[in-house]
């Protein structure tokens, strides 16, 4: 019941917003290339969902969504594993922490997607490797930094308590640091999941196979097929939402008994 109650305000708001959008485009006579009506986007979604590519048609949204989804998910998984794994190692080995963590913080402040063209040169533009590499690089830092913080920001009295039990460092890691890092890990997953889709699409703008959401958006836009471009954006949003939902679910699994905030 409470869940349903929490659901209806955003649904009502969303439907109202779409209706207002539709009415505004019709009422003010806004050109479709500036802002297509939601109904036009919906019909583009229908016709382009599984369209035959070739002969002037450039869009197959189902395929594009699937391919971009693969890039995002693969990059997300690898980035999360790498970020959390390195965070664990830096907590365990002081030298690694002192040398690597400051670098990671600096690297985190640089816009990673700017590296996409360079990754294309490194990993090639024919396969998905280059785009996946961009997603990994984007996902890695929030996960690494959050998990590392969760592993180190442990209450001083909790550490003293463990010392009073004569607990070994490995026990402290297993019983205190890792569980303490779980809410941080959950937050980083919720950050990283939508980020992975953004990174995948931006990377695709810079090159790679054309049957992906990124090229589909740019090509349709250049042919003034804005309804199709918007339809591709809708697919991308749904992809991001699905990944966010999965991240939320995993986050709840790893933090049993703790309250989960949406943001």
């Amino acid at each position: 019941m409470t869940r349903l109650r929490a659901l209806w305000p955003p649904v009502v708001f969303g439907v109202g917003f779409l209706m207002l959008w539709e009415a505004a485009v019709r009422g003010f006579g806004i050109e479709e290339f500036l802002l297509p009506k939601p109904s036009s986007i919906l019909s583009a979604l229908r016709t382009e969902w599984a369209g035959e590519v070739g002969g002037g048609r450039i869009t197959n949204l189902r395929e594009a969504g699937w391919e971009t989804g693969k890039v995002a998910v693969l990059g997300l998984i690898l980035g999360v594993v790498l970020g959390a794994g390195l965070a664990l190692l830096t907590t365990r080995f002081r030298l690694l922490r002192d040398s690597f963590t400051p670098l990671a913080v600096v690297a985190n402040a640089t816009p990673i997607v700017a590296l996409a063209p360079i990754f294309n040169a490194w990993f090639g533009i024919t396969g998905m490797a280059s785009n996946v590499a961009v997603v990994i690089a984007v996902v890695f830092f929030p996960v690494f930094i959050n998990v590392a913080r969760g592993l180190t920001e442990v209450g001083p009295s909790q550490l003293e308590l463990m010392r009073s039990y004569a607990a070994s460092p490995a026990t402290v890691l297993r019983q205190v640091r890792i569980p303490n890092a779980m809410p941080f890990f959950a937050v980083s997953l919720r950050l990283a999941a939508p980020l992975s889709v953004i990174a995948a699409i931006v990377a695709e703008y810079f090159g790679g196979p054309t049957n992906r959401l990124g090229p589909v958006i740019t090509q349709n836009a250049s042919f003034s097929r804005y309804d199709n471009a918007w339809a591709a954006i809708v697919v991308a949003s749904v992809l991001g939402l699905v990944l966010f939902g999965i991240a939320l679910f995993i986050g709840r699994l790893v933090t049993p008994g703790q309250r989960t905030e949406l943001l």
Partner: protein, 279 residues
């Protein structure tokens, strides 16, 4: 039998630096088994440091502590004492009973044994119905009672308490004091209790050790024999006489021109020794 023997104990933080603090300076004390001892004094007098040295959570600069006839380090390894801090320090990801069971788990007790013990301990602190709750669902006073149950779960003969009720409101605090006294009577555990509150120290203790700061020394030891301890005793002439005695001892320190503030907050609790380092 002597529970804790403190011999010529000194502790200096930041030796050789401008921030050098003589937290404890050649302190001697004997604490008998079954005693309830309070350590009281202005901020910076080294009372928390003394407690941590007894528990081997810090290394003394010189001198030593024996707990039940063993060096304190050995006593820690033998898990001879339980510890309760101002923050309950419960683990959010564990239920209340799993928190109480943690020390038993680390000591390799069987599952059945652990759940029996944790049920007993939660009954003891009157939280029998809350085993399945999570810490954040409990009030501050209840969380602190869970911390006490956890400290007692493995039946240590010594309980070290560092301002355990400092963060609680007055009424909860008095209830907790009554409860700790009941536990002390029931289990016969030796208790060393750090506090800022004169009334608390007098109400709870057999002896109150008054410490003076910079350098941290024992200023005086006040014997308290109140007999039965209940709500009524707090309003008795006897109680008033003892609190006055402790207050005057503390005032004697203050008028000695010593300013307060310092090491307890700056040097230990938030300090770097334990907090920052992954072990």
């Amino acid at each position: 039998m002597t529970a804790v023997k403190i011999s010529d104990l000194s502790m200096t933080f930041g030796a050789g630096t401008p921030a050098q603090v003589n937290a404890l300076d050649h302190v001697n004390a004997d604490i008998a088994e079954g005693e309830f001892i309070s350590l009281i004094g202005p901020s910076g007098c080294g009372k928390s440091t003394m407690l941590r040295l007894i528990g081997d959570l810090l290394e003394p600069t010189s001198g030593g502590v024996e707990v039940f006839g063993k060096p304190s380090a050995q006593a820690r390894l033998d898990r001879d004492y339980g510890m309760v801090f101002q923050q309950a320090g419960l683990f959010d990801w564990r239920t209340v009973s799993a928190n109480v069971e943690l020390p038993l788990e680390l000591m390799g007790h069987s599952k059945a044994d652990r759940s029996t013990r944790s049920r007993q301990m939660l009954e003891l602190v009157e939280l029998g119905d809350f085993g399945k709750s999570y810490p954040w669902q409990l009030s501050g006073g209840m969380q602190q009672r869970v911390a006490i149950a956890r400290a007692l779960s493995f039946s240590p003969r010594l309980l070290l308490m560092d301002e355990p009720f400092g963060a609680l409101d007055e009424m909860t605090r008095e209830n907790m004091q009554t409860e700790v006294l009941r536990i002390h009577k029931e289990l016969g555990t030796t208790i060393i209790f750090v506090t800022h509150s004169i009334a608390e120290a007098v109400f709870l203790s057999n002896r109150v050790i008054v410490l003076s700061p910079r350098p941290g020394r024992i200023h005086s030891i006040i014997d308290v024999e109140l007999g039965r301890r209940d709500a009524a005793i707090r309003e008795s002439a006897e109680f008033f006489k003892k609190t006055t005695e402790v207050r005057e001892a503390l005032r004697g320190i203050e008028s000695g021109g010593i300013e307060s503030g310092g090491i307890e907050s700056g040097g230990i609790e938030s300090g770097g020794i334990e907090t920052g380092d992954p072990q």
